[in-house]
């Protein structure tokens, strides 16, 4: 009798062990605040509730207000990082280099394969994909249709190259009082739309930065927009970005991303605007663009790594991305969603989203990241632009000085 009971108990234990386990792991998730809190909360509490329950995952969401990169760096170093978190392409390098990030799991590689290729490039490190892009943005030209109508000038369009684009801005500026074509900022994050169109790359094969003739051509074009009567310095309008000038009705166009949708919804709800692609280089016919993207990544030290990867898979699944797109809060990273009906709607927000979405695959596109140099790399070109725009240096001097600084930074002899 006793032997039978023992065998029965052992049998039950073996069957229980062989059943698929419902882990019910608690996965800590973190990212920055703002609109993201709404997106993530809705995803985990409404859109993906059933999937999370089926996977046995309980999400503890811990959004961070403040300098997320710094907080994450400290947390990864101290071993207190969340299991799943955002990694911005801009500061991805040191985080990936730290060895504290688990590469994308084999299961999730199938999702990664369906993403826009330039987004995956932003999160490759030493041949491994370290995160799955959750959403992204690129640059596009937003224009005020009423301004162009008042000025009697044809609005910018897909066929514009640098010259026709500048000509339209010049005409608006000369035909209308108190409205400028564009406001320019000394910022690589906008200037790159022109620099990359020439075929110039931020780093050559040796990892050095060369400010060659192609760079100079774009630099000259961008800086001379003010002298040529096509633009004004943003600071002269009391602004720090092109969207601010545009939202105030001071300029005819802005060069920004899909974040303008929400901004203009609040700042200028009655503005009759539309969006088109960045103008093409007159000779190469290419457009330049930057991809601003953020990944979901998993900490190597996570005690619930499997569940963390499963959660990343769910957060970037077609169902989640479809909802993200339709919410209008962000652009999904899934390439197939380019055919979604939302993009075909004839309203300003859908048009802006479509143009920005297409920007990631249109022409010379680079991720907004600068290897191990980060902001130090960007500061050099920003300061060269600033010095030239403010006439503190000639274009030649500004480029020569920037080249010296890049040589020192990247160790070029």
């Amino acid at each position: 009798m006793k032997t039978r009971k023992t065998l029965l108990a052992a049998g039950i234990a073996m069957i229980a062990a062989s059943l698929p386990t419902l882990a019910n792991d608690v996965v800590r998730v973190s990212g920055w605040g703002g609109d993201n809190v709404v997106v993530v909360n809705t995803l985990i509490n409404e859109v993906l509730v059933d999937e999370l329950a089926a996977a046995g995952i309980t999400v503890r969401y811990e959004p961070v207000e403040g300098d997320f990169a710094q907080i994450l760096t400290n947390a990864l170093s101290a071993g207190t990082a969340p299991d799943v978190f955002y990694v911005d392409s801009f500061w991805a390098y040191p985080v990936f280099q730290s060895g504290k990030i688990d590469p994308v799991s084999d299961d999730n590689m199938a999702i990664a394969d369906e993403l826009i290729p330039s987004l995956n490039e932003a999160f490759m490190h030493n041949g491994q994909l370290m995160g799955i892009a959750k959403d992204f943005n690129t640059l596009a030209v937003q224009y005020d249709l009423d301004v162009f109508d008042d000025a009697g000038v044809e609005p910018p369009n897909e066929d514009d190259d640098w010259n026709s684009f500048k000509s339209k801005l010049q005409q608006v500026q000369s035909n209308l009082d108190d409205v400028y074509g564009l406001c320019v900022v000394p910022d690589y994050a906008r200037f790159a739309a022109f620099a990359l169109a020439t075929g110039w790359k931020p780093f050559n094969d040796e990892g050095h930065t060369l400010l060659d003739d192609r760079f100079r051509e774009a630099f000259e074009f961008y800086v001379n927009l003010v002298d040529d009567g096509a633009a004004v310095l943003a600071t002269d309008l009391g602004q720090g970005w092109t969207g601010g000038c545009f939202g105030n009705g001071d300029t005819a166009v802005a060069i920004e991303g899909a974040w303008m949708i929400g901004f203009l919804r609040d700042q200028a709800p009655n503005m009759y605007y539309s969006t088109t692609s960045i103008p093409k280089h007159p000779e190469t016919g290419d457009r330049g663009n930057l991809v601003f993207t953020v990944s979901w990544s998993v900490a190597t030290d996570s005690k619930v790594k499997d569940s963390a990867h499963t959660l990343v898979g769910l957060l970037t699944s077609p169902k989640a991305q479809q909802w993200v797109l339709e919410s209008g809060l962000a652009l999904p990273s899934l390439e197939a969603l380019g055919d979604n009906a939302y993009f075909q709607e004839d309203n300003r927000e859908s048009i802006t989203s479509r143009v920005v979405f297409e920007g990631a695959s249109n022409g010379q596109v680079e991720p907004f990241q600068f290897a191990q140099y980060g902001g130090d790399w960007k500061a050099i070109v920003d300061e060269a632009l600033s010095a030239a725009l403010l006439k503190e240096r000639t274009i030649d001097d500004a480029i020569a000085f920037a080249q010296q600084r890049y040589d020192r930074l990247t160790g070029r002899q």
Partner: protein, 366 residues
């Protein structure tokens, strides 16, 4: 019994100082020790720290950004400490006058100190814009410079005429007679308005004043223009607190000293030179020491500028340390940051010692 009480007092004493000792050990002694160790290591917060001897210090010496930060910190410290000490003393002397509405003036003088540094920086960033209030003010002064000069000359002339006329009748009349002053002011205002109406002394500027205060690499004297803007901001927010210290010092000087000095025929300046200033020496020591430490470690106002100014135009030693520890989008350089932090600490110590050696000491200098 006596021994027991002494024992209890000793225990109570230790209990009182224990929290301070713990925090001193954890946040100062331990932190200083770790910083010292890191300064001889290569460490990026993630990989294992490796010893590299004095390589971080050598790298500091060969880093042009460090040399720039050092120069900026020293110049900023000397300029701000000097100006804020003088202004704090002047404000304290003014606030110490027994006049009607004394409380109101003291409140107004102290007001900038209660504003948060972040809020003040944002307000100043707005003031310092290329088309901001400061440049508009400078533009107005430029346009009306002629009128302002005429206004001053007119005032002096009317005041002098009144003085000469008054002297014919009353020998005791002074040039600065308050009644004459008011009449001159009134007549000058009327005269200036008439001249302005005819456009005399006013000129139109071909272009508005658009000095770039923040996003520039231009320098004025030992400092970039950007840091001059921070100098103004820093003085504005710090002077009121230092004024309070001087005010407390002024109120502790016995009135009898001034009464005796007046009886001896000492002028107001002599009273300031030989009574007030020596008696305020311990306060001045505190004010100057706080000034040197605060200015050498100034960080928040630079950090809050963000992208509004180029790194080379705003960097100080404290910001250099932070920039190396948390480079935006780059790999942390904790070794370099630690070495820079220790250089900053040593520099602060040296500056305070120099200050003492040039006569600003802790004791009253009668």
């Amino acid at each position: 019994m006596n021994h027991k009480i002494k024992q209890q007092e000793r225990i109570a004493g230790w209990l009182f100082v224990t929290p301070f000792c713990v925090s001193l050990f954890v946040f100062f002694v331990y932190a200083l020790g770790r910083t010292l160790v890191y300064s001889f290591q290569s460490f990026d917060l993630f990989s294992e720290a490796t010893w590299n001897g004095i390589a971080n210090y050598v790298a500091l010496l060969s880093d042009p950004l460090f040399a720039l930060a050092l120069r900026h910190s020293l110049a900023f410290s000397i300029v701000v400490t000097t100006l804020q000490t003088m202004l704090a003393l002047l404000l304290a002397l003014a606030a110490n006058k027994k006049v009607r509405g004394q409380g109101f003036f003291r409140t107004v003088f102290y007001f900038p100190s209660i504003l948060s540094s972040a809020a003040m920086t944002l307000i100043f960033m707005w003031l310092f814009q290329r088309r901001g209030v400061l440049n508009q003010g400078l533009g107005w002064i430029n346009e009306h410079m002629g009128l302002l000069l005429i206004c001053v000359v007119l005032f002096m002339a009317i005041q002098t005429v009144q003085f000469l006329m008054g002297r014919r009748r009353y020998q005791w009349v002074r040039w600065g007679d308050p009644f004459h002053f008011l009449v001159s002011l009134l007549l000058t205002a009327v005269g200036t308005l008439i001249l302005a109406g005819y456009g005399i002394g006013v000129r139109e500027l071909s272009e508005p004043v658009a000095i770039t205060w923040l996003n520039t690499r231009e320098t004025w004297g030992p400092l970039p223009r950007t840091i001059w803007a921070i100098v103004a901001m820093n003085i504005f927010t710090t002077v009121p607190t230092l004024m309070l210290l001087y005010l407390a010092g002024l109120q502790s000087i016995p009135d009898s000293l001034y009464e005796a000095a007046e009886l001896e025929g000492a002028s107001k300046f002599q009273q300031l030179r030989y009574i007030t200033w020596p008696r305020l020496m311990p306060v001045s020591f505190t004010v100057v020491t706080l000034g040197i430490i605060g200015t050498l470690q100034m960080f928040d106002q630079v950090a809050l500028l963000g992208d509004a100014a180029p790194l080379e135009s705003k960097i100080t030693l404290a910001y250099f340390t932070y920039h190396n520890a948390f480079p935006p989008g780059g790999t942390p350089r904790i070794g370099m940051a630690s070495a820079a932090a220790l250089v900053l600490a040593a520099l602060t110590l040296v500056m305070v010692l120099i200050q003492r050696s040039v006569g600003v000491g802790e004791k009253t200098n009668d």
